[in-house]
Symmetry: C2
Subunit: 285 residues, 2 copies
Amino acid sequence: MTSETNLLGQLERQLPDLNKSETKVAQAILQNPEEATRSSIASLASLAGVSEPSVNRFCKKFDATGFPDFKLKLARSLASGVRYVSRAVEFSDDINTFPRKLFDNAISALMTAREDLPLAAIERAVDHIAQARRVFFFGLGTSAAVARDAEHKFFRFNVPVSTHEDPMMLRMLSASGGVGDVFFFISHTGRTRVLVEAAELARQTEATVVSLTYGESPLAAQSHCCINVDVEEDTDQYMPMTSRLVQLVILDVLASGVTLRRGESFTPYLARIKDSLKDTRFPTN
Amino acid sequence: MTSETNLLGQLERQLPDLNKSETKVAQAILQNPEEATRSSIASLASLAGVSEPSVNRFCKKFDATGFPDFKLKLARSLASGVRYVSRAVEFSDDINTFPRKLFDNAISALMTAREDLPLAAIERAVDHIAQARRVFFFGLGTSAAVARDAEHKFFRFNVPVSTHEDPMMLRMLSASGGVGDVFFFISHTGRTRVLVEAAELARQTEATVVSLTYGESPLAAQSHCCINVDVEEDTDQYMPMTSRLVQLVILDVLASGVTLRRGESFTPYLARIKDSLKDTRFPTN
DNA sequence: CAAATTACGTAATAAAATTACAAAATGTAC
DNA sequence: GTACATTTTGTAATTTTATTACGTAATTTG
């Protein structure tokens, strides 16, 4: 984590390295962070059972210029409402804990991604897609659902899009690429053999290879344009959850980018597609 | 919006109703909100060109007990970093604006959903799924991708899960439900005819109908258990984007809930499934 | 066990915020 | 337009809050 998104987490992590009174202060804050943001240095000191300067020194240890600054940082960190940042669900969790943890993780993943969006790559990807003759979205496993979502989204732009999962199909299609074809690979790890090999094949054609994956991966290496999504995940124990959310939002960004590229005159076309679905639904009362 | 999530917005809105010096203060804050959170009442007063008590009075007008409290509130409001809450992308947006807007929307949708999770329904849904003989995930359109994702996730629990999109298939399967079968319907609007009709058919059997949809919808009405996701969306102009993110996270919650229900002894089983994928990837250096 | 270092608190000082009060400014009635 | 009332604003005093300087206690190290 670069600049702390989460002061409480930092606090907890450093807990063992603190001395006696600092520990007391930390615990007092962790006990009730909300209240800590509202209380004065005097009340926090007495709550923790230490002197005021101890609290002050404590604050400075955590990169604050003083107590008020610390409170501000704390308030900011609490405001995001993300209590359980990258905390894995544990077997001791109950219904009041684990749903919130999962939401917190999702939110903070998106917040992190937002701070560091690869705008240049996104722009180039939009360029490629907007001008494409055909666009193929390839993803396997969890990313298959993302590819599916992308297909749905981009379909609205009058570009022949398709998704495929059969490895044979992937290889054949990839090898058949030509000018104006965009092969869009989606993968969390960027190490899925089938995808990397398909990308290699596509790369040997005149087609453009775009990927939405981890920047330091074999798949990225095969791409003309790689949109780097570097989301930390506890994939050892659990399935990728947050990375696919980020991928989805990035695809929303790309889709919106293409729409913007098409210009205002395109709106009626979108409306027509939307209207085509009207009769599939029960009317709203 | 219940209690303001966004102080800046409130500030801007009230601007016309303020008197001279209050207006000056408001403008000074709006000019550079970040700095306002860091400065003292004296510096803000001089920046705005008013006296310190004026600033103080201003703060009290905005439901703060005083200046420090106001700064805290301001900091909190800024912290979420959500600048463009439910602001739709416009044709005048450029690459520096619209990606951030989309991320902001996604984040705030998740934050809203988090505050109001239907825990009871979630718990019941977990119960049903954990005990199910078979689980069917049905979703169409955008929700098809969500259903797909769910299939992938729940597959790991040794429960025969499947997803289907063919309307005929949906009807036949729904009609064939029996004790221990769970039909899980996913829909943003809850008004998709095909789904509602399938739910009706399933309802007539011994099977359990669970839905992840808008609570006030025909689909919800057909469900034994409805997980209400009430995400506002500008679907008039755009595709549903944020609702499917919320749906995905809720499905993560359900999946995690089922895992927790299975207990710790289940972990090796999950590990085995995970390992089965190892050889499909290039090793990490 | 003594020297050195670190941890901590007391008390003084400084900074910041709030209050009380008075002076302008603005509005209203005649 | 003047007198009165009301609102707005600022000055200065007061209070609250935070910080610093310094000394003592505790802990570590040789």
